[in-house]
């Protein structure tokens, strides 16, 4: 089934994003599943903003290139998106603005409404335009105006009753104007379903922050950077309620070193950044490794190098995160593929970091960070906090880096009477600097053994979707999962291998699946095929077909279908 795609676009600063989110909640509160995707330039005012909402009775997992309903609050929205309008789709625009619609194909329903006039006359401000548009959209898509009004009441709950009432009136006016003029064009897209279960609508950033809170995180130091800045916004807001500390540091170097200091002192600690910030963190990454200090790092990818495309998406940091820092140390690298996995893998990352006393990187990208999805509310009972070999009592003859077969020494914290030495120099079992050959070898081998233990005790098999035998096996990772799963029902004889544990890497399982595949199509959002290279290094398998995308836009289901067909034709 092809999902319904709603898009709203306009000038930045006019509440496009909040209107899109409100619209998606009308859908979820009517029983539908949604996926929201937004596009915006790195500006606060001016420039083009777009939010699109995929609506489905099944699970919505990705944005689409086609559009079924477009709310165009300015000419630029029309110019950029009119070619995406599907047959029998609709476009809402302002009747007063002399907009140029000449490029519009025939067969598209034009909903010409006095949006600005209603905003000014009923709402008292042009800024209410998005509320008028929401009212009109609810009307034309068969939605329940009461749900929109309820959402408005919640949004403005902290402001005056007058503001709520004005917004209600404005939404109603938009609703009535649309219904009066275009009643016979109404499509039942938002018609409330008989069974409506509560759903949360949230971004990957929200899910990461909530996962950290749920997992007992005690200290987070995060310097703002798109696309992960909203992680810190959530963490900062709830710190007093839950008793942890969020600290804004002076830079990313400080961020990672503060988190390492807090973790050394015994707190569950994290930092988060984008690829550019992670460049600054690379020395701290290895410090966490050699001092065996647990640390969770959230790495949000965006197109680079340097400033790159700040508000767009890419998966170009894979090889960087796998290799960053000089020399070797055990690093655990995870890559959630959707927002549910963002929550679960962040929680898990805290357990892994403490169990293996080493950095754990959770790699996400702008598309996951800032895309919204609807989910059943997260539950807590499937998770337990595990702190590994943490010793909170005084031990006789304690040695921080005592050799251990599994590579994991007893970890204690300062202030309990144990002599707890963390040392960035190579050190002996007690922590004192030591450059002897035997000691170097045994400490290096002890540290690296942790990855072997982790692969054995914690690494699951990779996720696999579809029949075991298929003409094409798609292999991919990260946010592409959504578009690929949306595409699969439209493709015959295709299965999908999702890689979510990147280091340690499930080389045997991957080799088995790819070894029996008839054709392999690697899909990722970077120029050089970084996962293709990693698979080759880990398994020896060379993949011949790749779809590589580095234009900053996310993967679309339409593209997946197109690329699979291309391989089939070869």
């Amino acid at each position: 089934m092809r999902p319904f795609v709603f898009k709203i676009g306009g000038e930045a600063g006019f509440g496009i994003m909040s209107a899109g989110l409100t619209f998606s909640k009308i859908a979820t509160r009517s029983g539908y599943s949604v996926f929201n995707y937004s596009e915006y330039p790195s500006l606060i005012r001016g420039g083009h903003n777009l939010m699109q909402v995929t609506i489905s009775k099944a699970v919505a997992r990705a944005p689409y290139q086609h559009t079924d309903f477009l709310v165009a609050l300015n000419q630029e929205t029309i110019d950029r998106h009119q070619s995406e309008l599907a047959p029998a789709s609709g476009i809402v625009f302002d009747s007063d603005k002399n907009l140029d619609l000449k490029g519009l194909r025939s067969g598209i329903n034009k909903f010409s409404l006095p949006l600005n006039q209603i905003a000014r006359e009923v709402g008292g401000s042009l800024l209410m335009r998005n509320t008028v548009a929401l009212g009109a959209s609810v009307a034309l898509l068969g939605g329940d105006l009461a749900i929109l009004k309820q959402l408005i009441s919640e949004e403005f709950a902290k402001k005056s009753e007058q503001i709520v009432a004005e917004n209600h009136k404005t939404a109603e006016a938009g609703y009535k104007a649309a219904l009066t003029k275009y009643k016979k064009f109404v499509r039942p897209v938002l018609k409330p379903l008989s069974k409506v279960k509560p759903q949360i609508v949230l971004t990957g950033n929200d899910a990461v922050a909530l996962g950290a809170i749920a997992a007992g995180m005690q200290f987070a130091s995060i310097y703002p950077m798109t696309p992960t800045s909203n992680i810190l916004a959530i963490l900062a807001a709830y710190q007093e309620e839950f008793g942890y500390i969020y600290k804004q540091p002076e830079d990313e170097i400080s961020a990672i070193n503060m988190a390492i200091g807090a973790a050394y002192a015994g707190a569950r600690a994290m930092t988060a950044t984008a690829g550019g910030g992670f460049c600054l963190m690379t020395e701290g990454y290895g410090l966490s490794g050699i001092t065996e200090t647990p640390l969770v790092i959230i790495e949000g990818m965006r197109p680079g190098p340097a400033t790159g495309l700040p508000t767009w998406t890419e998966q170009g940091d894979l090889q960087f995160v796998l290799r960053a820092h000089q020399s070797d140390f055990p690093r655990i690298v995870l890559a959630p593929g959707d927002i549910q996995e963002c929550f679960e893998m962040t929680r898990q990352a805290f357990n892994l970091a403490e169990k293996y006393q080493t950095p754990v990187v959770v790699m996400i990208d702008k598309h996951l960070c800032e895309g919204f999805t609807s989910l059943a509310p997260f539950i807590g009972k499937d998770f337990q906090i595990e702190r590994g070999k943490l010793v909170l009592k005084k031990q006789a003859n304690y040695e921080r880096y005592a050799l251990a077969r599994d590579g994991i020494s007893l970890r204690s914290i300062p202030g309990l009477g144990n002599n707890v030495i963390a040392n960035s120099d190579e050190h002996d079992t007690r922590g004192y600097s030591n450059e002897e050959i035997e000691n170097r070898n045994s400490q290096m081998e002890k540290r690296m053994q942790k990855l072997v233990t982790c692969a054995r005790e914690d690494m699951p098999a990779p996720k696999f979707y579809g029949h075991k035998d298929a003409a094409i096996t798609i292999v991919s990772w990260g946010s592409n999962k959504g578009a690929i799963l949306e595409a699969l029902p439209n493709l015959k004889d295709v299965n999908f291998l999702q890689l979510d544990w990147l280091n340690p890497f499930p080389a045997q399982a991957v080799a088995k699946i790819l070894g029996r595949a008839r054709q392999i199509l690697n899909i990722e959002c970077n120029y050089s095929g970084q996962m293709r290279g990693w698979i080759a290094e880990q398994t020896g398998i060379k993949i011949n077909h790749s779809f590589l995308k580095y234009d900053g836009r996310p993967m679309y289901p339409e593209e997946v279908v197109r690329e699979v067909k291309k391989v089939l034709k070869r």
């Binding site: 909640k25 509560p198 949360i200 609508v201 949230l202 809170i213 749920a214 997992a215 007992g216 005690q218 200290f219 130091s221 709830y238 710190q239 008793g243 500390i245 600290k247 540091p249 002076e250 830079d251 170097i253 400080s254 070193n257 503060m258 988190a259 390492i260 200091g261 807090a262 973790a263 050394y264 002192a265 015994g266 707190a267 569950r268 600690a269 701290g284 410090l287 805290f350 509310p377 997260f378 807590g380 998770f383 906090i385 702190r387 914290i413 202030g415 309990l416 009477g417 144990n418 002599n419 707890v420 030495i421 963390a422 040392n423 960035s424 120099d425 007690r430 922590g431 004192y432 600097s433």
Partner: protein
């Protein structure tokens, strides 16, 4: 009670004979014995440089981190467990070059930390390059034609940035330095001791003799609560013009005192609690 025997590490110091670090090391251990600093209440944090080796020579819990980064590590330790005495050992290259940004912002935060700045005005561990403290004209491996940059004044910088306790000591005056270390730790807030520390191997300008000829103690009349008086004294440097002692001391709320989450207990004493987020989730419905 802490004894010198308890503080004795199995590792013998590797500093050059006559290095100022010996004086700082001894003064710190004397202070620890006098104040009862031990593994139940104290952490040493060091950066990279000759100073950083000190962690190996005192048997106390410690973190030797990266060049320039001891302050952020100490900041994290202090926020996680503000009951600990946290001493930051850093050098002039460590604190003022590689870690200059951290130094400014740590002072701004007024965390209750004691910073012992080993100021030898040279890079010793890399065998003699100019540092941000080296005087103008200073010849070294990196400035064979003479240093053309002005030296930084770390205490003026810290004062501008918001530090609340500032002193200068001398590595050759062990009892005096011990006293300053104890007072700095007792001060609630960001305390910096600039320790004049001769590098006997690579710095032939700032020698023991140079300091002993030119230092003088701040008079009892010096008003430690006046920023203006502190700045005036910190402008002095040169022949017969190197004041030592406490320049500035004011009581302002520390960073930790202003965090509500720390009002009743330390972060670490709460453990890592599993939390019920269902109430927060309602806001996303």
């Amino acid at each position: 009670m802490t004894t010198h025997q308890q503080l004795a590490s199995p590792i013998a110091p590797t500093w050059c004979p006559g290095c100022g670090d010996f004086g700082i090391w001894t003064a710190f251990k004397d202070a620890a014995v006098q104040e009862g600093w031990d593994n139940t209440n104290t952490v040493m944090v060091a950066g990279i440089g000759c100073h950083g080796h000190i962690n190996n020579f005192v048997k106390l819990s410690s973190f030797e981190g990266l060049h320039g980064r001891p302050l952020p590590v100490a900041a994290g330790i202090k926020m996680a467990n503000h009951k600990l005495n946290v001493f930051v050992f850093t050098g002039d290259g460590d604190a003022l070059a590689e870690g200059g940004n951290h130094f400014i912002h740590a002072a701004r935060r007024n965390q209750n930390l004691t910073v012992i700045l080993h100021d030898n005005a040279i890079y010793g561990l890399t065998t003699g390059q100019t540092s941000p403290r080296s005087p103008k004209g200073f010849k070294s491996k990196s400035t064979p034609q003479g240093n053309i940059e002005e030296p930084l004044q770390p205490l003026s910088l810290a004062l501008t940035a918001g530090a609340t306790w500032l002193a200068r000591g001398y590595a050759g005056d062990i009892p005096g330095l011990m006293d300053l270390i104890i007072r700095a730790n007792a001060h609630p807030g960001f305390a910096v001791i600039q320790v004049l520390q001769p590098c006997v191997t690579f710095n032939q300008v700032y020698t023991h003799i140079f300091f002993q000829r030119n230092m003088y103690r701040l008079s009892k009349d010096h008003d430690v609560t006046s920023k203006t008086a502190a700045y005036a004294k910190l402008l002095e440097w040169g022949e017969k013009q190197i004041p030592i002692g406490i320049f500035y001391q004011v009581r302002e709320p520390t960073y930790e005192e202003q965090i509500k989450q720390l009002a009743k207990r330390t972060l670490v004493s709460a453990g890592a609690p599993k939390r019920d987020i269902s109430r927060v989730l309602k806001k996303f419905i």
